[in-house]
């Protein structure tokens, strides 16, 4: 690609790409191929489709497009066929021939590939007919399904870098900041600090050099919207960063990305190269006096590096320990220079605000929380996936209308939001409108948008133990309160799970929680008690059962459960007998089997293989 020398030239290039997109008459088969799509075989599907197109010389009529994640992870690998917008799910490589033959050449729908609503069983033909999509407002994530993320021209064809052109041509840096302030954009990475205020602060500090950082160290377990954006639309994140650099007066930026995201790393690396080649990044961007370069730094597997001061130390090549604030990064950040740090989703919102205006943006959402938020709806839920919804929507709408409810007719128990800093909310909070403040009041947080749904088979004490184990492992160890506090809380909760809990443990947990919160320096420690406190607040009876009655009602905590065979259901099929690694199950074909409790290690293999509900956990 040749260097684009002016905003006007960029507008023309983008208009030409848009014209080509609209003029093309081909049927477009868009295959979702983010990391989870690929893990489910989407690349094989693409290969089969392309092979058939070639064999039948259909190149003039059909285009097979490889895009990032469409968000509907449950239906992977999925295909959207344009222009009709037909949605096929769970597509296999050997479906390719039929798709080309029936749907593309003969305009017929293939029923077996249609999505069926989990509750009504109704089939949906088009993307817009699927309840997973109808309540969403996919302003940020929607473009993933339109473009090949490795092609800059694709991004141009949907208006890519037009916001940058507008900023460089018509806007002073202060105007850009005012626009972000007026839009009401708040940080999407956790704390929800107003983005414009952060930018303004960094702009006003005088320094010889300033930095921009994109925090792509998406560490909250259960949250992966940033991965999806980096994989599926890396130029948009980059465009946001370049605009941010212009606004605060920085000439260099860093993308700090998790090492566990190889595809995202590949795509953002390629995007940077393409952007430099095209002249939208690098020296004298679009012929202006503004220059900006972007470097990539790979994380090395430390959760605490998602905290901004720890992240900056990690970029400097040091141990990722947080430090005391103030001074805030806006004043003294990376190599002691003013630094503005935002997360991936926040950056991806920036071009949208510039192009469509702060007024328009601020009309979406609630009083204090504007715009949309992407949540990763996972766990015990029918429609697992990334959902982008306007702020203010209720948990119930997300879980039941979009998520299709709980699989297997099970009861909803809790939804965990905000990762290890967040909390578990019970059924009585389902009608809570979601924004930064309401979640905090309810004892959880927005966090980066992880939303893990739990059903009756999830033990809340075990969940609490899970997060404490995570936190004691990830605590950097700098503050004693966090290092020892998370360890001690984990020990107490582990004792409860093992049936060795005492009634005084609850008070001890509450005291430890306050100490860890008050005496720790960074967000990790300050919020480390949230999973414990929220489960104590809403699920107290789940702590009482193991302490008072030596029971785990959900059937999870190993020390408190036993497996047994239900004689009336056992058909003597020998499946469990073969699956048992310890030889604890004996019996002969077509006769009720026997489980020897002394040999049983409670691995759950028998429960997993039994098709007749003949293994009981109690």
């Amino acid at each position: 690609m040749h260097q684009i020398k002016s905003p006007q030239e960029l507008r023309e290039a983008a208009a030409e790409q848009k014209r080509q997109r609209e003029a093309q008459q081909k049927a477009v088969l868009t295959v979702s191929a983010g990391t989870c799509g690929q893990a489910r075989g989407s690349l094989d599907v693409i290969e089969s489709l392309r092979k058939i197109v070639k064999e039948q010389s259909l190149e003039d009529r059909v285009e097979v497009k490889l895009t990032g994640c469409h968000g509907f992870c449950e239906a992977e690998p999925n295909i959207i066929i344009q222009p009709q917008n037909i949605f096929y799910q769970h597509v296999k490589p050997n479906d390719a021939a039929q798709i080309i033959e029936d749907t593309i050449l003969n305009n017929q729908i293939i029923e077996k590939l249609l999505y069926k609503e989990p509750t009504s069983g109704k089939e949906a033909i088009k993307e817009e007919d699927i309840s997973f999509y109808t309540k969403q407002n996919r302003l940020v994530l929607g473009d993933n399904a339109l473009i090949e993320p490795t092609q800059l021209n694709e991004y141009f064809s949907i208006g890519g870098y037009l916001a940058l052109a507008q900023v460089l041509e018509d806007m002073e840096p202060e105007e850009v900041i005012t626009s972000i302030l007026d839009a009401g954009l708040r940080g999407r990475g956790g704390a929800g600090f107003p983005t414009g205020r952060k930018w303004k602060l960094t702009r006003t500090v005088e320094a010889d050099k300033k930095y921009i950082i994109c925090n792509a160290d998406e560490g909250d377990p259960g949250a992966y919207m940033d991965r999806s954006l980096m994989e599926g639309n890396p130029h948009r994140v980059l465009e946001g960063m370049i605009i941010g650099g212009y606004a605060i007066g920085a000439d260099e930026g860093f993308v700090y990305i998790r090492d566990e995201y190889p595809l995202a790393l590949k795509h953002i690396t390629r995007a940077i190269e393409q952007a430099e080649e095209a002249g939208v990044l690098g020296e004298n961007i679009l012929g202006s006096s503004f220059s900006f370069k972007v470097n990539i730094v790979k994380g090395a597997g430390a959760f605490v590096c998602g905290e901004e001061t720890a992240l900056m130390r990690s970029i400097e090549g040091k141990v990722g320990e947080p430090r005391q604030r103030p001074p805030f990064p806006a004043v003294s950040g990376l190599w002691k220079r003013p630094t503005n740090i935002n997360n991936v989703e926040t950056w991806a919102n920036v071009p949208l605000i510039i192009l469509r205006g702060a007024q328009w943006y601020s009309e979406i959402g609630t009083e204090g929380s504007k715009g949309t938020k992407i949540f990763s709806l996972v766990g015990k839920i029918n429609n697992t996936g990334l959902v982008e919804v306007p702020m203010g929507i209720t948990l119930r709408e997300i879980i039941y209308d979009i998520g299709g409810g709980i699989p297997g007719g099970k009861q909803f128990k809790a939804v965990q939001t905000g990762g290890p800093s967040g909390g578990c909310l019970p059924a009585e909070k389902l009608d809570l409108p979601i924004d930064y403040e309401s979640l905090t009041q309810a004892g959880s947080i927005m966090g980066s948008g992880g939303m893990i749904v739990m059903d009756e088979d999830t033990c809340m004490v075990d969940v609490s133990k899970y997060f404490l184990n995570f936190l004691r492992d990830e605590s950097c160890g700098k503050c004693l309160s966090c290092r020892e506090g998370t360890q001690r809380m984990w020990e107490v909760v582990s004792d409860i799970c093992d049936g060795n809990g005492k009634e005084s443990d609850i008070q001890l947990l509450e005291e430890l929680a306050v100490a860890v919160k008050d005496a720790s320096m960074c967000g990790l420690g300050q919020t480390a008690a949230n999973p414990v406190l929220s489960t104590l607040r809403y699920f107290r009876e789940e702590y009482d059962a193991p302490i008072k009655d030596q029971r785990c009602p959900a059937g999870v905590c190993k020390a408190l459960i036993s497996y047994s065979i239900v004689a009336e259901n056992c058909t003597g099929c020998m499946a469990c007998l073969k699956a048992c690694p310890e030889g604890a199950i004996t019996g002969v074909l077509k006769e009720v089997h026997v489980l020897n409790q002394e040999k049983c290690i409670k691995c759950g293999a028998c429960f997993e293989v039994c098709k007749f509900d003949a293994i009981k956990i109690e």
Binding site: T35, C36, Q38, A39, R40, C73, E74, E76, E218, G219, D220, P221, G222, A223, Y224, R227, D259, E260, Y261, P262, V297, K298, G299, A300, G301, A302, F303, S314, I315, E316, G317, K318, V319, G320, S376, V378, G379, K380, T384, G385, Q416, G419, G450, I452, M454, T458, V463, Y466, F467, F470, E474, C476, A579, P581, C603, G604, A605, E608, V609
Partner: protein, 162 residues
């Protein structure tokens, strides 16, 4: 493990002996040798004028690094919240039982290292296990042995004389 000094030097040179590139250099060394050999770190220490204490400090702080040689294959079990509620811990136990090692360790024959990861961000297909970069979706207890066998047989095939 035979550590070629020239190779280590080339990694350091690539980053212009910049101490702030320490993590990136360690990542390069680990990508080459599958762990951080002590001899490589000694060379690195001299070249970027950073003490071994600081280098080891960084290497042990970040979970991606290993100071011990790792196995031919690495199986990584996802311990994310979504995988956890879908039975991730049982999958890890099955791997531990099958390989006869605890997570974070390597089998005696140096075939497999077993690791855990906080979250791979593939929550829809949990429980997830990654072996040598291949993603295995919706792993159940029963699938563990076939997964391991797949890599073991591959190894044997590669070793077979032509």
């Amino acid at each position: 493990m035979n550590v070629e000094l020239d190779k280590v030097k080339s990694f350091v040179d690539k980053h212009a002996c910049d101490p702030s590139a320490l993590i990136a250099i360690l990542q390069d060394i680990q990508a080459e040798y599958n762990y951080l050999p002590r001899r490589a770190l000694l060379v690195l220490s001299q070249m970027i004028k950073t003490s071994m204490v600081d280098i080891i400090g960084v290497a042990t702080f970040y979970s991606a690094f290993s100071l011990e040689p790792r196995g031919e294959h690495t199986a990584t079990v996802c311990m994310g919240t979504a995988c956890h509620v879908r039975g991730g811990p049982k999958i890890l136990e099955e791997f531990e039982r099958n390989l006869g090692i605890e997570s974070g360790h390597t089998t005696e024959d140096k075939q497999f290292s077993l690791e855990t990861v906080a979250c791979l961000g593939c929550c829809a297909i949990g429980p997830v296990v990654v072996v040598d970069g291949d993603y295995h979706a919706q792993v159940s207890i029963r699938k563990v042995e076939p997964i391991l066998r797949k890599y073991q047989t591959k190894e044997k095939k590669d070793d077979a004389p032509n």
